[in-house]
């Protein structure tokens, strides 16, 4: 019994008792016990992952646990990284969730919700530990089902939840079908379904089959990670889920799409050819730009965060794709750096996105509003939540000293140095990828300035926002844990250098450690670049203190007089005159008019007596998801058309059905005769 096995056993046991507690206990203590057990699941996952990141591995096989295939588990540093991230997010979100559901009111405190939450948490921790196709698919599907149930928790409150649930259910199961096909094909050709057998047998596959396996698996994993164009479920399901579930989905579940791509692409299939990784990189760059563009225009706070998840996972895929390209181009050191940057971005994104979603959940709980146009003024009412959201936004905008900057900087370093890798593809693709990352970083700044500025600053724009109160202490504690993690990731990323090197090595991509740490700085081993975030943060703090002191001194010397605001004689400005999320994003919407194709409509109603007098002007502005509009709507219409045509076959006459049977048998016999 080593740490990992103990921790995994604790995690499984915690999940089962948590589910039982959620089902059996009375409402008063249900959320406490189930929440505490969920936190135990997360802590155990964190411990197992951290232990694996120190270089330990553990594997086990339980042949009798499931019929036919049994259960195989193996934890190495790559699994450990994703387990640790999921575990850490689960701990913080579980603590937050106890506060969120306290008092036992609301659908999130109900029996089903509280029973499913620990199970979902456990699958998040356990999916990376699976080491056979059947175990992986089982846990993957369990994760999809439990998260689907949790998305549907508030279905009685809003009808949009149901439609989001249907989208999610259909897309995640289409993904499962692709994954099942891909992995089954792989297992059949490689002669075994354990990951060891797949790894050993990968060279038996022809390049075409390997490519097919990769494409099928990558499509499924990209859909789980919300990559364009398979993202349509994400901006629906993440906002409609209860906030702690959104945080878990956006910060832990989507990561497993990356894990799957790295595990199958690099480890099991052995990195393959150049076009695979070109596909990954282009998909990633497209989702990064498209996701953040939609986030910039979103007025729903949680939808904005969900689209930002598309963006960040896109950036991670850019890193993964670049790693594969460099590997195929014969530069293992750079490949390791790109993969390390991608994995570090997974960690950073999990930190700030979980914090963002939990803070958005606090706002939602306090005001009942997700629409930024109707929020505002929350800094005064909810100072702790506002500053925590500000920290999350700092991480998301990828500017120093936020934590998102560290990994995006590493990613850019790897792409820029990657121009040394020979080949026309890299010469064309890498500069474009750098441009895409730069564009998405700029748009991310706009999106999060909007979220923070319009949502939390200025004056309240609705009675709900006026009446907001600060969240309970447990919610703040949960968010505080995440904030501490974000701050640590931002200030001392050097401690992650060795674990990242081990995770990269576990992906079998390269043995060269890409980074060297030290508590104070992060240095690239391959090139001369280094980043010392602690000094940067110290310089920033010192300059802020100096500026503050200077302003105070200047203010003391000057004569000041309090006067009424000059309102042009027209009366005090009202909150309606302030910037809203829509008006803030309007210039950007104009710039990207051709890409986004927004729908605007001005409806003027005249007074009955005269057309020169206007009674009411109604302005509507919608920014539909264009990919969804262009790709999914025709596809759905086609399916509906085929379905309604097929219905004509079932006319209700028994004679016709008997005829179908006869024709079917004859056709089958005919086919068999030809084939024999």
């Amino acid at each position: 019994m080593n740490t990992i096995s103990t921790a995994l056993a604790v995690s499984g046991a915690g999940a089962l008792t948590g589910a039982a507690a959620g089902l059996g206990l009375p409402a008063r203590i249900r959320s406490w016990i189930a929440g505490a057990l969920t936190a135990v699941v997360g802590a155990a996952g964190l411990a197992a992952g951290a232990s694996a990141l120190t270089g330990r591995t553990w594997s086990a096989s339980f042949p009798s646990l499931l019929p036919l295939a049994g259960v195989r588990l193996r934890v190495d540093a790559l699994s450990g990284l994703f387990m640790a991230v999921a575990g850490a997010v689960v701990v913080a979100v579980a603590v937050y969730g106890i506060g969120y559901a306290r008092g036992g009111h609301g659908p999130v405190a109900s029996r089903p919700a509280q029973a499913v939450l620990p199970l979902f948490a456990a699958t998040l921790v356990l999916v990376p530990a699976a080491s056979s196709v059947s175990t992986f698919l089982l846990l993957w599907e369990l994760m999809a089902l439990t998260s689907l149930l949790l998305v549907l928790v508030e279905h009685a409150e809003r009808s949009t939840v149901r439609s989001a649930g249907i989208w999610y259910a259909v897309m995640t199961h289409l993904g499962l079908v692709l994954l099942l096909t891909g992995l089954a094909l792989f297992a059949a050709k490689a002669g075994g379904e354990s990951f060891d057998a797949l790894r050993a047998g990968a060279h038996l596959l022809s390049p075409t089959v390997r490519g097919l396996v990769f494409v099928l698996c990558f499509a499924a994993f990209a859909s789980k990670a919300g990559a364009v164009p398979l993202h349509a479920w994400l901006p629906r399901a993440h906002p409609e889920a209860p906030s702690q579930v959104s945080a878990l989905m956006s910060a832990a579940m989507v990561n497993l799409g990356v894990y799957g791509t790295v595990r199958v692409g690099f480890d099991l299939l052995g990195a393959g050819s150049r076009w695979w990784w070109l596909t990954v990189l282009v998909t990633g760059a497209a989702s990064a730009v498209y996701g953040i563009l939609q986030a910039t225009l979103a007025t729903d706070l949680k939808r904005l965060l969900a689209y930002s998840t598309c963006e960040n996972l896109g950036l991670v895929f850019v890193g993964v794709g670049a790693a594969g390209l460099f590997h195929a181009g014969g530069d293992p050191a750079l490949a390791g750096l790109a993969l390390a940057a991608a994995l570090l971005h997974v960690v950073n994104h999990a930190g700030f996105k979980a914090l963002g979603f939990t803070a958005a959940g606090s706002v939602l709980r306090a005001t009942g509003e997700r629409n930024l146009d109707r929020l505002g003024g929350l800094r005064a009412k909810m100072p702790a939540t506002a500053s925590l959201f500000a920290l999350a936004a700092l991480g998301a905008v990828a500017l120093p000293p936020g934590n998102g900057f560290v990994s995006e900087w590493l990613l850019l370093q790897s792409l820029i140095h990657g121009l040394a890798v020979p080949g026309l593809t890299t010469a064309i693709v890498l500069p474009l990828a750098v441009a895409a990352i730069a564009l998405s970083a700029g748009l991310a700044a706009a999106a999060f300035v909007k979220a923070l500025g319009v949502g939390f600053f200025a004056r309240p724009r609705s009675p709900q926002a006026t009446g907001a109160t600060e969240s309970p202490a447990l919610m703040l504690t949960g968010m505080g844990l995440l904030a501490a993690a974000c701050a640590a990731l931002a200030l001392v990323p050097g401690v992650l250098a060795d674990p990242l090197a081990r995770a990269v090595a576990a992906s079998r991509l390269t043995g060269i450690p890409p980074l060297t740490g030290g508590e104070l700085r992060l240095r690239l081993t391959d090139t001369s670049a280094a980043y010392a975030p602690l000094w940067l943060a110290a310089a920033l703090v010192v300059s802020l203190v100096l500026a503050g002191a200077g302003q105070r001194a200047w203010r003391r010397r000057s004569r000041r007089r309090a006067a009424k605001l000059w309102d042009c004689g027209g009366g005090q400005p009202t909150p309606r005159m302030a910037y809203t999320a829509t008006s803030f994003a309007e210039p950007l919407q104009r710039v990207f008019d051709d890409v986004l194709a927004p729908e605007q409509d001005v409806n003027v109603t005249h007074v009955r007596e005269s057309i020169y007098l206007v009674e009411r002007v109604r302005y509507t502005n919608r920014v539909p998801d264009r990919i969804e509009h262009r790709l999914y709507t025709p596809l759905l219409a086609l399916f509906a058309e085929v379905g309604s045509r097929a219905r004509r076959l079932a006319a209700g006459s028994v004679h016709v059905y008997l005829g179908y049977g006869f024709v079917g048998v004859v056709a089958l016999l005919g086919v068999l005769t030809v084939l024999k």
Binding site: A563, K564, W566, D567, G569, G570
Partner: protein, 163 residues
């Protein structure tokens, strides 16, 4: 180049400055030191006075050479040039505008209406019986006329700037 040539050919069109008006300077005007930033306030005028004020600042009359300059906000202004009979709707904005200008400030009432003896005296909708600016705020300089000629407006402003 056409514009530059035009400027050179036209030369200076300003009329020669008349002798400075006598009369005593208001106390607040002395603190301004010969430079007055002027904000126009239309408190209900028929726009006749506004046209004349516009003329006073054109190149021919050139009020700026005497130290008066139009500004866009009472926050920038030392002098408020109020025109028109004060209507009910403009009474509160007028007071707010005067309050918004920094001390020391002066109010110059331009035109007969602003002095309470114009066409609209006693009319419906005035803030007071005569609509005089004086009924609402303290007035330092008075410029009569319906409308006052640019020269008269400049004479009033020169009382403030003292130049």
């Amino acid at each position: 180049m056409g514009l530059l040539r035009k400027i050179r050919d036209t030369g200076r069109v300003a009329e020669p400055a008349p002798p400075p008006p006598g009369g005593e300077m208001p106390a607040a005007a002395r603190e301004l030191g010969g430079s007055a930033q002027v904000r126009c306030v239309d408190a209900g005028s028929c726009n006749g006075c506004e046209i004349e004020i516009g003329m006073a600042f054109n190149p021919v009359y050139d009020a700026e050479r005497y130290g008066a300059r139009l500004v866009a906000s009472p926050r920038h202004a030392d002098v408020l040039l109020v025109t028109g009979p004060v209507t009910r709707n403009m009474a509160a904005p007028l007071k707010a505008t005067v309050a918004a200008a920094a001390e020391p400030r002066l109010v110059v009432a331009v035109g007969d209406c602003a002095l309470g003896c114009g066409e609209f005296t006693g009319g419906y909708g005035l803030a007071s019986e005569t609509g005089a600016v004086e009924d609402l705020v303290r007035v330092d300089v008075r410029i009569p006329g319906c409308p006052p000629e640019p020269a008269a407006i400049i004479a009033g402003l020169r009382q403030v700037t003292g130049r």
